[in-house]
């Protein structure tokens, strides 16, 4: 079978790393060969971050290049646009509609563009957008945005729901598990 390439993109501090670990754990428990490429260090500090998750019978490269991603899970609108070229023309975008101003916008050196999602669609991208922040707050914490988004993506893969739940249990600390399970459910049921 061919390799499926997933990119998780967002802003440092949004929890993309944990999301990629949950995803990796779910795929590994399904018996796939899996590679997850993470970001650590300086780029984590509020900058544009990207992690790659690849799975299939045999995965070589841990990274995803232009025109290769089957799924782009974007934690922030502008970040979805930044990585547009990395998706396959047939690739799916799952986009959190939250906007976070980059420092270049805060300082007035640049403007946050209008109509990002419309632009993605007019470029030919298959976009599913949701506002994950209120769902995360509903689940119990604004920090659970990442798990809401994992839920939304999980509903769009062929992997069974209980596998995702198992992966959450194996990666999330016990005291936050219940809240994260609620967050997952809210994202999963979003269609």
């Amino acid at each position: 079978m061919s390799v499926t390439n997933i990119m998780i993109v967002g802003v440092g501090g949004q929890g993309t790393l944990l999301a990629s670990r949950i995803l990796g754990a779910a795929l590994a428990s399904e018996g796939y060969d899996v590679k997850v490429s993470e970001v650590h260090g300086m780029s984590q500090r509020g900058g544009s971050v990207v992690t790659y998750v690849k799975y299939g019978e045999k995965v070589y490269s841990p990274i995803v290049e232009k025109g290769e991603a089957d799924i782009v899970l974007a934690f922030e609108q502008l970040e979805a646009a930044r990585w547009l070229e990395y998706a396959k023309p047939s690739g799916k975008f799952i986009v959190n509609t939250q906007k976070i101003d980059p420092m270049t916008v805060v300082t007035g050196a640049a403007e946050y563009p209008d109509g990002v999602l419309e632009k993605l669609e007019s470029a030919g991208a298959d976009v599913f957008a949701l506002d994950a922040l209120p769902l995360a707050v509903e689940a119990g914490s604004a920090k659970a945005v990442n798990v809401v988004l994992i839920g939304a993506m999980a509903a769009r893969t062929s992997i069974q729901k209980d596998v995702w739940i198992g992966a959450l249990k194996s990666t999330v600390p016990e005291k936050f598990l219940e809240m994260n399970l609620r967050a997952f459910e809210l994202g999963y049921s979003k269609v």
């Binding site: 993470e38 509020g46 991208a125």
Partner: protein, 577 residues
């Protein structure tokens, strides 16, 4: 059962399984997690050393004492540890000693892009390079055996994409390597001219034996291996580039994958190249393998096709070798850059704003605070390497004594322990009128919260002695030592101004814990009242990512704000509460 392990985690597992007993490292992205994971095994004594030189000397001492030992560092850390490395190459080991060095092609989190393979050749030390987590584990275990067999330290070279990628590994039990007896042997362990001359002979003979091993046993064990596909294209490669090449070219090429990058085989490369029509050497950064091939008369294509800069990928190899490119979508949207920034509530923000108001020259250093070089703070003039803030400021102030009244050094607590204190001794000893600001945030921040000699805790979280920055500064001869809370903007500015005006050297300790520490209490998020906001944008000058302008008024993102109150001090209209 297979486990999805980070490359660094797999190296740590390899240390455990190989019976490693002593590990000493200094944190540095992308190497840090090796030692963090190793610290989870109670069988390994693990520590954060003050710097990489100390770490390597600890590992050397431990291996001579008969314990399998380890030290880990990032590429620039090996510059610091190069002094012991070159001579431990001469003494050799007793029990095995393994060094991990993690390179950072593409500079995700580094100040340069040096290729550490040159150290293996320069120090005449064997170097292995794994290509995924399973190899990280296997090579680490193999490295201990090779170290003992050839009586040499062995370096394992990682790169960011190997260190920070997760892939599947299988675990095994730990072997108890025991403690080997130490036998006094000054001819081997006391390196002064008379003995070192003899040891250099041993080192050269050792390299010959290792080269023979690369041709034969390394091939039998699969460490150096040929994977035959189409013989139209031959690829000589190692590490992450092997994975990129396999994905790009698949069965369209044959591969010579080198698990040992120093020393390099001769016959094996000649035999492989002779069977292939066109041979490429695919290696990130320098032409290390390529130069070797050309030296032994093998015609290869290398850096005339592939860049010396940055990371490689399957896409760039596919384009260079096959001339094909994937299709992709594009947009005319102009997308603003999103550089990394100081976190909301970061104690460095107040300090750098105070420096900005004082309009001083800032001699900078390595850490989160280097981010103050970016807009809107833009308060860094130089950043060279760990510790250089302090010594370079001294140099600046000696170049022109009038500089002393408008220049400061900034250096973090961990970086100061690493190599800032030696610069401070220089300042005191050589009568410099310099102001050194130590940014004490109670942790090593940028690499992800490691303890250090000032925090009072070991890597395992056990309480221990803590260096007093005040007493240390006084002890080296600094008479003016002040402590400020950087979140108090007016006080911080006042104290630094006083120290700049005062004669003689000063240390200002800017003390407040990192806002990301779990022990730090978060205040409720602040709010900006749009009725009171006059849109003056003063609050934007501190570069807090939680503050932005919405409909012409200042707005604070409640998901990011930790209530540090620095912006409140900026607002003259009382709009922020």
């Amino acid at each position: 059962m297979k486990h999805l392990f980070l490359g660094n985690e797999a190296v740590a597992r390899g240390l455990y399984e190989a019976g490693c007993r002593v590990a000493s490292s200094y944190p540095g992205t992308p190497s840090t997690e090796v030692t963090e994971y190793a610290a989870e095994y109670n069988e390994i004594f693990c520590e954060w050393a003050p710097n990489e030189k100390v770490a390597m000397e600890v590992a050397a001492g431990a291996c001579i004492a008969g314990a399998r030992s380890f030290c880990g560092m990032k590429h620039v850390g090996l510059n610091v540890a190069a002094d012991p490395l070159f001579t431990v190459s001469y003494t050799g080991v007793n029990a095995g000693m393994v060094v991990v060095v993690a390179d950072d092609p593409g500079m995700h989190s580094s100040q340069n892009e040096q290729d550490s393979r040159h150290y293996a050749r320069a120090a005449k030390v064997m170097m292995l390079e794994p290509a995924d987590s399973a190899e990280c584990l296997a090579y680490t275990k193999a490295a201990f055996g090779l170290s003992e067999r050839f009586d040499t330290p062995v370096i394992i070279r990682l790169s960011t994409r190997i260190a920070h990628s997760r892939s599947l590994v299988e675990l095994a039990e730990r072997v108890d390597a025991g403690l080997l007896p130490y036998e006094k042997n000054p001819g081997k362990y006391v390196m002064m001219p008379a003995m070192a001359r003899g040891r250099h002979v041993v080192v050269e003979e050792r390299l010959q034996k290792q080269t023979a091993w690369c041709e034969d046993e390394a091939v039998k064990s699969g460490l150096n291996r040929i994977e035959w596909g189409s013989k139209k294209i031959g690829v000589i490669t190692s590490g992450a580039c092997y994975q990129y090449a396999k994905e790009a070219l698949g069965e369209n090429a044959s591969y010579l994958k080198l698990g040992c990058v120093y020393p390099l085989p001769v016959d094996l490369i000649r035999r492989f190249a002779a069977e292939c029509e066109t041979v490429y050497v695919i290696e990130e950064l320098d032409d290390f393998i390529e130069a070797h091939c050309k030296k032994i008369g093998v015609n290869v294509i290398g850096k005339e096709t592939f860049t010396l800069l940055g990371e490689y990928s399957q896409a760039m190899i596919r384009k260079a070798v096959l001339g094909t490119e994937a299709e992709f979508l594009s947009t005319d949207l102009s997308i603003p850059a999103r550089p990394p920034v100081l976190c909301p509530g970061c104690p460095h923000r107040g300090l750098f704003y105070a420096l900005k108001k004082l309009k001083v020259f800032v001699s900078g250093d390595i850490g989160c605070y280097t981010l103050a070089a970016f807009k809107p703070l833009e308060m860094m003039d130089t950043c060279i390497c760990m510790g250089a803030a302090v010594s370079a400021l001294h140099g600046r102030n000696k170049a022109d004594e009038s500089n002393a009244k408008n220049s400061v050094a900034v250096i973090g607590d961990s970086t100061f322990m690493h190599s800032g204190v030696t610069g401070l001794i220089d300042i005191a000893y050589n009568r410099s009128d310099s102001v050194v600001v130590i940014l004490d945030n109670s942790i090593t921040g940028m690499t992800g919260h490691q303890q250090n000699p000032t925090t009072g805790y070991t890597i395992k979280g056990d309480p221990t002695a803590a260096v007093s920055l005040e007493k240390l500064s006084e002890a080296v001869g600094i008479n003016r030592v002040r402590v400020v809370d950087p979140n108090d903007l007016a006080e911080t500015e006042r104290v630094i101004k006083e120290e700049l005006a005062a004669d003689g050297p000063s240390v200002v300790i800017s003390r407040r814990p990192c806002a990301l520490l779990k022990s730090v209490k978060r205040n409720p998020p602040l709010k900006s009242d749009p009725e009171k906001c006059r849109s003056c944008k003063m609050c934007m000058r501190i570069g807090c990512p939680a503050i932005s302008m919405r409909d012409g008024k200042s707005a604070i993102d409640f998901t990011q704000c930790v209530g540090c109150g620095v912006c409140k001090q900026m607002c003259k209209f009382g709009a922020i509460m």
